[in-house]
């Protein structure tokens, strides 16, 4: 058995009818990831609604309203594997009002596929989706120029669309972009190379997904362990562990080794890693994104929401924050109103003190002093938290540089935030804090 070596997470975005669901259906169908009963179900629904034509979009449109209206209203997750890789797909819808779902589907992705209808070219949705992918710092972008069959497989049309993208791409911080001409409906250049595009020498979409380099997408610089849970057994599984006191969490950055010095924040106390405990036995070192339990040399005040860090590449700690946010709720952002802010493993109260700017999706310009941030707007804000948080800039670390805002009362998640780099870093004044 050939076990896939790693996982690639990607999302698909485009506007309504660009053929996202059809593309995913095609990937699953042509990579033989569909099963007979799924095909039977497809054929059953084709007889009822499609006049006998199989509709590949029915594979991902799982809710009744979606099948009835022929739209995708929420993120659908799909899974398939080839001998080279395992894939998690987030199919994210294209309507303007569902941008929040795209942010949801894209936030954990290694790669985003932006679909463009070859007839329509770049539209505002294409810009919006590309800008969101850039804002979320998704490492890889694929522009899938779909429905090439409807423009007679014209290389010139493909190059025009590519040029339209290249007009605004330099203003966005995306390192790796790939353009692929395809037809999701007919399967050209999705899994099998197309006979219609002799002028295209690049890989098929699946070929690219299988080979794009993702091993360095995790952050291995600057150790960060946001503490999730204090592990103190009352009746330990091993009686010798009666005095066990460990700090459990998922490493959000860097590498930790037994015997190294660490700093517990916000207490600011320097201590040493006595043991890295795991269910499978103690380990000498652990790295992002492993889940571990740290036992420290000294009995210090650490609880859920604390952060244990290494002594180099220090983070910031502040209650004055600046961030880019995507607003996700019908009730617009109200400056001065108190929200809950969840960052790593702690939730604190926060108030927005200023809306600095709002991103104009047509021009990709940041427009200063907007009146408000409403549903699906992206903008830059300043906020103040009830107590300092320990953080990195989002560009440095996706996990310690991100937060969500939660509305008090309704408990709705109203915003996704990406922190700008800290102005001041933590200063553990050497010696003073050592026990």
């Amino acid at each position: 058995m050939n076990v896939p070596v790693d996982i690639l997470r990607f999302n698909t975005c485009g506007s309504v009818d660009d053929g996202k669901s059809t593309l995913i259906g095609r990937l699953l169908y042509d990579s033989k990831s569909l099963m007979e009963d799924q095909l039977e179900a497809l054929e059953r629904s084709a007889d009822i609604t499609g006049g006998g034509q199989i509709n590949l979009a029915n594979l991902t449109d799982g809710l009744r309203a979606e099948r009835e209206q022929g739209i995708t209203i929420d993120v659908a997750y799909r899974y398939f594997a080839t001998p080279r890789r395992k894939f998690i797909i987030a199919d994210t819808p294209g309507h303007v009002q569902y941008t929040r779902n795209m942010v949801t589907g894209a936030s954990s992705a290694n790669l985003s596929i932006v679909l463009v209808d070859a007839r329509a070219g770049v539209i505002e949705q294409s810009r919006r989706h590309t800008a969101i992918a850039a804002l979320l710092r998704i490492p890889h972008l694929v522009v899938a120029v779909n429905k090439m069959d409807l423009v007679d497989w014209s290389e010139q049309r493909f190059l025009e669309i590519r040029a339209q993208f290249e007009e605004f791409l330099p203003r966005l911080d995306i390192k790796d972009v790939k353009f692929i001409p395809l037809s999701a409906l007919n399967g050209d250049n999705v899994v099998e190379p197309s006979p219609h595009t002799p002028w295209y020498v690049g890989p098929t979409l699946l070929g690219h997904l299988e080979s794009v380099h993702i091993a360095s997408d995790w952050n291995l610089n600057g150790f960060r362990l946001p503490v999730q849970w204090v592990n103190r057994p009352n009746n330990p599984t091993d009686p010798k562990l009666h005095d066990f006191r460990g700090f459990s969490g998922q490493i959000a950055g860097g590498i930790v080794r037994t015997g190294q010095k660490v700093i517990a924040l916000p207490a600011g106390i320097v201590t040493t890693v006595k043991q890295i405990w795991t269910y499978d036995g103690p380990v000498e070192q652990a790295f992002c994104p492993q889940s571990v339990t740290l036992v420290l040399e000294h009995d210090i005040d650490v609880s859920r929401g604390s952060t244990i860090i290494g002594t180099d590449q220090l983070p910031g700690a502040s209650s004055q924050l600046q961030a880019e946010i995507c607003w996700m709720h019908p009730r617009p952002l109200q400056p001065g109103k108190k929200y809950f802010l969840k960052h790593t493993t702690q939730t604190v109260q926060a108030a927005v003190t200023e809306i600095v700017s709002k991103l104009n999706m047509a021009t990709l310009d940041a427009e200063p002093e907007p009146a408000a941030l409403a549903m699906n707007d992206i903008g830059e804000i300043r906020l103040r938290t009830a107590k300092p948080i320990v953080f990195d800039g989002y560009a440095t670390n996706r996990l310690t540089g991100s937060f969500i805002l939660i509305e008090q009362g309704s408990n709705a998640t109203v915003a996704a935030g990406m922190l700008l780099p800290p102005r001041e870093i933590v200063k553990p004044e050497n010696g003073d804090y050592v026990i």
Binding site: M1, V3, P4, D6, I7, M35, E36, D37, A41, S45, T60, D61, G62, L63, R64, A65, D74, V75, A76, Y77, R78, Y79, I88, N101, V103, T104, S107, S108, A215, W218, L220, Q228, W229, N231, P233, N234, N235, P236, T237, F244, S248, G249, Q250, T278, Y279, D280, P289, Q290, S291, R304, M328, K342, H343, T345, L399, S402, I404, N411, T413, A416
Partner: protein, 300 residues
């Protein structure tokens, strides 16, 4: 690959452990739904990995439909005892007896009736969060569900109004009476589950492995003959070498003909399979939206 590389199972494992610990950190009275099936067996190992050397900070909860395979309940009780975990079992029969669950005329299946039984158990113990083993690859409605799936005061799922889930930041905030269903295995596939069982050397109930059993052909599948599924006069009882791929109730779970008698055989069989796991579950075939409707009513 360098030494700072996680393979796909290690990635799925650390994601699930993180979610388990978020539950322990954010909820006052969580429970873990444990049926003894393969998915919840993985959940239990992940709970051990998340919380040891401490005792598990949450009890196990099972809704017993009264139509379970006996092998499953035996395994469930034994595994809970091995782990020193508290196991709460609430029975559909009791819920029917005290009027919490009311069968429709002629309703034999316990599928719908487990919903009020579960909701009553949640209320009885004031559970604010139930961890379940559902996976998104199982079914189209599940493919749309979040890791943290919010349920209102009636236990209902509203697919059009789900909380956005961004990065690994889960919003677990609730008002009184509301609760959360949490699915750490959301991103796992059937293959991942078996590969994890193999890697962790986990015991599974014997009915997952090949054995001889009397079956009848009904509704396009082999149903096991038992007190609840007596053969009809025109049906031929066949003695077959079978196993289960997914475990539902004994009246609706199709057996598949298979010689697979260890985990490696099962993995090879799934790799070659041409139908999905739920293709053998009659409860999902009722209509295109069978699962969606049950989830909206408060199903896992």
């Amino acid at each position: 690959m360098n030494s700072y590389h996680l393979d796909h199972l290690q990635h799925l494992e650390t994601e699930a452990i993180h979610i388990m610990r978020e539950v322990a950190g954010e909820f006052d009275r969580p429970a873990l739904l444990f049926s003894g099936g393969k998915d919840s067996i993985c959940l239990l190992r992940l709970a051990e990995k998340a919380f040891r050397p401490s005792e598990l900070p949450l009890p196990l909860l099972n809704v017993d439909t009264g139509h379970h395979f006996p092998e499953l309940n035996e395994f469930r009780d034994r595994r809970a005892q091995q782990l020193g975990a508290k196991l709460v079992v609430r029975k559909v029969e009791d819920a029917i007896a005290n009027g919490v669950a009311v069968p429709a005329a002629g309703e034999i299946s316990r599928n719908r009736l487990q919903i009020p039984t579960l909701l009553a158990a949640i209320e009885e113990f004031r559970f604010d969060c139930c961890i379940g083993g559902a996976r998104r690859d199982e079914e189209k409605a599940r493919a749309k569900e979040r890791f943290f799936s919010f349920r209102d005061g009636f236990g209902q799922w509203d697919p059009k109004n789900q909380r956005p889930e961004i990065w690994n930041l889960y919003n677990g905030r609730l008002n009184p009476g509301e609760n959360m269903r949490v699915f750490p295995l959301s991103n796992w596939t059937e293959m991942d589950v078996w590969e994890y069982i193999q890697r962790e050397k986990l015991e599974v109930p014997s009915i997952y492995f090949s054995h001889r059993r009397q079956c009848v052909r009904r509704g396009g599948q082999w149903l096991p003959v038992n007190d609840l599924v007596p053969p009809k006069p025109n049906e031929e009882v066949r003695d077959l070498v079978v196993r289960v791929r997914t475990i539902g109730d004994i009246i609706s779970t199709g057996m598949i003909e298979s010689p697979a008698d260890d985990v490696a055989d099962i993995i090879a069989e799934i790799a070659a399979a041409r139908v999905t796991e739920r293709g053998s579950r009659a409860d999902d075939k009722t209509s295109e939206a069978a699962m969606e409707d049950r989830k909206k009513a408060g199903y896992f």
